[in-house]
């Protein structure tokens, strides 16, 4: 295990890693500092790095013009709602695929995954028309449904892989102990799969939060989420760099915080199969 690595090599790699990380992070960092500048300073040439006059006005402007709070609330409803709804459907589905597979189970799993490879625009027209006819356009519940459907294959796949790790003996023991299907899932399967379910939940909240294509095309004012908010903000007011930065920062902040606080859980869940 212990290998002799020279100090030079170590320092070299450390510098390289930091350089790559900074390069990747620089646009976000630029957005963060710009959000606190005045509009004039934001487009000043030569640019300043740290704001000369520190201001929070951009944030208040953004809230006044586009109602950040409403969009953020919609984002929360859609991402959390679609993930919970997805789990309710996916847990029994993954149970049956992992513990009562048939000859076609593998094919169904592949087929579900293949739907994720299809470009979304391919089904834009039919879905738009269906949504129009069912009066689901620009509604939070309509958006929640579509978000559940597009992420369902991923939820099922993730849960399926976690469930596969659970010894079937234990579920059989529960059956022998008198547990009907519902009790087996609620009292035995789910508690044992909690790490996997938690990371599935987190990942899907993030995916749904960041989803832009459907949220932008299926909503206008009322049900718009933060992705719709940011896109509506950028086009007419594109030149107001500081406000755009403030809006972007507001849009990504909640999910960045969520990711930051849950990264341990996320990594543990994602490597669950590999290390066990």
């Amino acid at each position: 295990m212990a290998r002799n690595v020279s100090v030079q090599t170590k320092t070299g790699f450390t510098i390289l890693a930091w350089a790559v990380a900074l390069l990747l992070f620089s646009p976000i960092l630029w957005t963060i500092v710009t959000a606190f500048k005045t509009e004039a300073e934001a487009i000043a040439a030569p640019p300043t790095f740290l704001p000369l006059t520190f201001t929070l006005d951009n944030f208040f402007d953004v809230q006044d013009r586009s109602d950040y709070i409403k969009h953020a609330w919609n984002s929360i409803l859609v991402s959390v709602g679609s993930t919970l709804l997805g789990l309710v459907i996916a847990i029994p589905a993954a149970w049956s695929m992992a513990f009562a597979p048939t000859k076609r189970t593998k094919d169904i799993l592949m087929w579900m995954l293949s739907t994720k490879m299809m470009p979304a625009v391919g089904v834009l027209i039919p879905i738009y028309l269906i949504f129009r006819d069912l009066r689901l356009l620009d509604t939070v519940h309509g958006l929640t449904i579509i978000m559940t459907l597009i992420n369902l294959p991923i939820i099922i796949w993730m849960l399926y892989t976690y469930f596969k790790e659970i010894p079937v003996d234990i579920l059989e023991a529960a059956r022998m102990d008198g547990a009907e299907l519902w009790n087996e899932i609620v009292h035995v399967l789910v508690p044992m799969a909690i790490p996997g379910i938690a990371s599935t939940l987190l990942l899907n909240v993030i995916l749904a939060w960041n989803e832009a294509f459907w949220t932008i095309t299926l909503t206008s004012g009322r049900a718009g989420t933060l992705t719709a908010f940011i896109s509506s903000f950028s086009s007419p007011q594109g030149l107001f760099l500081a406000k755009l930065s403030a809006a972007s920062l507001l849009a990504i902040a909640p999910i960045l915080l969520l990711g930051w606080f849950s990264q341990k859980q996320l990594v543990r869940g994602l490597t669950f199969g590999a290390v066990k």
Binding site: P167, D169, I170, E172, A173, M176, D177, G178, A179, H187
Partner: protein
């Protein structure tokens, strides 16, 4: 009550027929052991009785009631798995209480029964631990505790001791036997260890390739094996078989002599068969000699541990004339 009846039970996995046709009658309160070589279908047969697998055809009855299609939860049987299959996220107490919770037993009665089971199985000090923090033997006790609290119609054990070390296995074997004497509930016990089978069973089912070769008491199987398979399978070390002219002298296609049914001599000519000691396994109480007998091949002989032998010693064997087993060409006992 817990009598179990199998009527022409057949089980196939897809194209492969694992159990062609088994009929069995297990009486209430009996301790029945299924033995047989690996892959012969012991676990499958047990799982059919449990309801964890569906029969392909035939009927399974519990106390005369047909349960062929009933799910395991409705059969009122308890099972102890080789892997223990404890719930890792529950304490020992909750593990044992789980079947009672599923049966919606009132909390006061649950507490009482869990305490009773813990006392019976010496688990008192572990009740609040997770299964992860227990040794193999303790885990197996918890699994048994979980099985007994519900007072099932019958217990099903699938090689429950095979993950334990030899000394613990002997202890647990005794504990399970005592438990059976105390509870008097039907038990079906799967093992491939024929010492377990002989010592624990009221009756033994010897299985081979999905067929019942013989169903009888341990001594019946030892003294009157129905065929060559059972004769070779029951008894340790294994029975010695001889065919050809030597067997024809006894008017049989093949004869069998158990290692313990020889008279052994070292005096030249003082025996029916002459041979050379190949390996001597000295256990202290007994010695197992692997003897290369002239014209008949390798034989195992059991002798007391007092005499010492070494490789190359000449020995003379006389099989006990009253204890020679005779078999016909199809392997059936004559």
């Amino acid at each position: 009550m817990g009598s179990i009846t199998l009527e022409h039970v057949n089980k196939s996995f897809g194209e492969v027929e694992i159990i062609p046709d088994i009929s069995l009658e297990i009486k209430d309160g009996e301790f029945v052991v299924f033995v047989g070589p690996s892959g012969c279908g012991k676990s499958t047969l047990l799982r059919l009785i449990a309801g964890l697998e569906d029969t392909s055809s035939g009927h399974i009855k519990l106390d005369g009631e047909d349960v062929t299609g009933a799910p395991p939860a409705r059969r009122g049987l308890a099972m102890v798995f080789q892997s223990y299959a404890l719930y890792p996220h529950m304490s020992v107490r909750d593990n044992i209480a789980f079947p009672l919770k599923m049966a919606k037993t009132p909390q006061a009665i649950i507490d009482q029964k869990v305490d009773y089971a813990a006392r019976t199985l010496n688990l008192g000090s572990y009740l609040d631990r997770r299964p992860r923090a227990l040794s193999g033997g303790q885990r197996q006790r918890v699994a048994i505790g979980r099985a007994i609290v519900r007072e099932p119609k019958a217990f099903l054990f699938d090689e429950p001791l095979s993950n334990l070390d030899a000394a613990l296995r002997v202890n647990m074997r005794l504990e399970i036997t005592e438990l059976h004497q105390q509870l008097k509930t039907t038990m079906i016990y799967v093992t491939h260890d024929q010492v377990e089978a002989m010592t624990m069973a009221d009756r033994i089912v010897v299985l081979n390739a999905g067929n019942v070769e013989q169903f009888g008491s341990p001594l019946e199987l030892y003294k009157k094996p129905a065929n060559r398979f059972v004769a070779g399978f029951i008894g340790s070390p294994k029975m010695n078989f001889v065919d050809g002219p030597e067997a024809e002298k006894h008017k049989a296609h093949a004869i069998g002599v158990r290692p313990e049914h020889f008279t052994l001599s070292t005096t030249a000519g003082a025996g029916q068969w002459a041979g050379t000691v190949n390996v001597a396994e000295q256990l202290g109480s007994d010695t197992f000699l692997h003897v290369e007998v002239e014209g008949l091949g390798l034989m195992t002989v059991r002798t007391d541990g007092d005499q010492t032998f070494s490789h190359g010693d000449k020995v003379y064997l006389t099989p006990d004339a009253n204890r020679i087993y005779r078999f016909d060409a199809a392997g059936l006992a004559l």
